[in-house]
C-alpha cells in the first residue's frame, strides 16, 4: 500500500500493490466498489495517489520496472467505479497532476505524458531517454501557473508549457533527485542524493537557495505554514526535520533508530504523523517536533491519510492491510515553552 488512502466524502479511496482499487465506506470499511486491473493486461500494482475531480478518480498502474510489464492511467467514475477511459503506458507509478483539462503523469522509463481528461487521448509526450537500471521511483509532475514541471531520473529538472509541451527550460542538477517535487508560490523544492535541499525558481530554473541536511531527503516534502517538513535517511537512522521555506536554517530535528517508511509526514491536528517498517507510527508536534504519542500496527507503514483534523486516520501497510484508526484524545496539550 504505497498509495495514500484518500478520503472523498463518505469513502476512502486506495489502490493496492496487488492491483485492486477500492472505495471503502470510511466508517465501516465495507468496499462500496472495487476494480481489479489484472483484467487489463500484464500490470500488478497501484503506487501513486489518486487525483479526484468533480466526476472522476484518476490513478496510474504499473508492474514496477519489469521489462514485460505495462501500466495504465485510469479514469474511474467517481460514484460507481466504472472505467470512463484508460490510457496504456509503460507503467505509471506517479501521482497525476491536473492543469485545466489536461492530466500529466510519468513512468519508470523517464516518460512524461499529457492526456485530455475528457477521453484520455494523448496530447503530447516527452522522454528523457534515460534508463532506470536501479528501478528508482520517478517523481510526479507538478503544476505552477500554466507550466508543468518534471524531475527526471537523469537528475535534470524540466519545465514545459502545459498546453503545447514545449520545453521552457531544463536544469541539470548533476545528482540524483531523491524526492518528489513540492511547490510554494513560484518556487520548487526538492532533495538530492548529495544530502541537500534545493529551492528553485519555477520561472527560470535558477537555484534560489540550497541547504545541507544530515542525510538524504526521501519521499515527499510536506509544505506547512511557511515551513517544510522532510524525512531523511542514511541507510541506518531516520531523520525528521523542519526547515523554513527559505532554506536558511533547520527549525528542529528528530532522529530515530530506524528509517521512516511512510512516504511523507501527514499533518493532522497540528501534529505530523510518520511510520516505520515495524508498524510503529508516531505523532510529532508540528511547532517544535516534540513527540506526542505513538502506537503500533502490524505491517510496514507506507502511507497515511487523514479525514480532516477531527476525523480518523487511514493507514496502509506494505503487506496489504488498510487500517482506519481513531487516534488518542489529547487534552491540555502543553505549548512546550
Amino acid at each position: 500500500m504505497f498509495s495514500t488512502p484518500t478520503v472523498a466524502g463518505e469513502v476512502v479511496l486506495i489502490g493496492s500493490c496487488a492491483g485492486t482499487f477500492y472505495a471503502f465506506d470510511k466508517r465501516t470499511g465495507q468496499a462500496r466498489w472495487s476494480y481489479n486491473i489484472h483484467q487489463d493486461g500484464n500490470q500488478t500494482s497501484f503506487h501513486g495517489n489518486p487525483l479526484i475531480t468533480e466526476q472522476l478518480i484518476l490513478i496510474g498502474t504499473d508492474k514496477s520496472c519489469a521489462s514485460d510489464g505495462i501500466g495504465h492511467i485510469y479514469a474511474f467514475n467517481k460514484g460507481t467505479g466504472a472505467v470512463r477511459w484508460k490510457y496504456r503506458t509503460s507503467g505509471t507509478p506517479t501521482d497525476i497532476a491536473l492543469l485545466r483539462s489536461t492530466v500529466y503523469a510519468a513512468s519508470f522509463r523517464g516518460e512524461l505524458v499529457a492526456l485530455d481528461i475528457a477521453d484520455g487521448h494523448l496530447l503530447w509526450k516527452f522522454s528523457t531517454g534515460s534508463l532506470n537500471p536501479d528501478c528508482q521511483m520517478p517523481s510526479s509532475p507538478v503544476i505552477v501557473g500554466d507550466r508543468v514541471f518534471y524531475a527526471g531520473l537523469d537528475g535534470v529538472l524540466y519545465s514545459f508549457d502545459g498546453v503545447s509541451g514545449k520545453l521552457r527550460w531544463k536544469h541539470d542538477l548533476g545528482t540524483r533527485i531523491t524526492t518528489k517535487l513540492s511547490v510554494v508560490d513560484d518556487s520548487l523544492y526538492l532533495g538530492t542524493s548529495a544530502s541537500r535541499l534545493l529551492r528553485i525558481s519555477a520561472e527560470d530554473g535558477q537555484i534560489q537557495s540550497e541547504f545541507s541536511v544530515p542525510a538524504i531527503p526521501e519521499g515527499r516534502i510536506l509544505v506547512g505554514d511557511s515551513v517544510l517538513y522532510v524525512l531523511l535517511e542514511d541507510g541506518h537512522a531516520g531523520y525528521f526535520i523542519s526547515t523554513d521555506i527559505n532554506l536558511s536554517h533547520i527549525l528542529w530535528t528528530q532522529k530515530a533508530e530506524r528509517e521512516w517508511s511512510s512516504e511523507w509526514p501527514r499533518l493532522w491536528n497540528r501534529m505530523l504523523l510518520v511510520g516505520n517498517c515495524r508498524g510503529e507510527f508516531t505523532a510529532f508536534r508540528s511547532s517544535d517536533g516534540a513527540p506526542q504519542w505513538s502506537d503500533k500496527l502490524k505491517g510496514c507503514i507506507r502511507s497515511i491519510g487523514t479525514d480532516g483534523d477531527a476525523g480518523d486516520i487511514f493507514i496502509g501497510v506494505q503487506e496489504g492491510t488498510v487500517y482506519a484508526y481513531s487516534p488518542p484524545q489529547i487534552h491540555n496539550q502543553p505549548q512546550g515553552k
Partner: protein
C-alpha cells in the same frame, strides 16, 4: 479487531525515539481514557 499498543511519552522517548535536537524539549501531556484504537481493517492480500 487488531489489538494495538499505545505508548505514551516519556516511555516512547526511551524505547524508540532519541531526540537529537528539540528546541523546547519533550513535554508531558494528559491523555484521557479514550486511547487510540483500530476502527476497522481490510486485508487486500498484497
Amino acid at each position: 479487531m487488531l489489538s494495538t499498543r499505545l505508548v505514551i511519552l516519556p516511555f516512547l522517548m526511551a524505547a524508540a525515539i532519541s531526540v537529537a535536537q528539540t528546541a523546547h524539549g519533550a513535554s508531558f501531556m494528559e491523555v484521557d481514557s479514550s486511547l487510540g484504537k483500530v476502527i476497522w481493517q481490510y486485508d487486500t492480500n498484497g
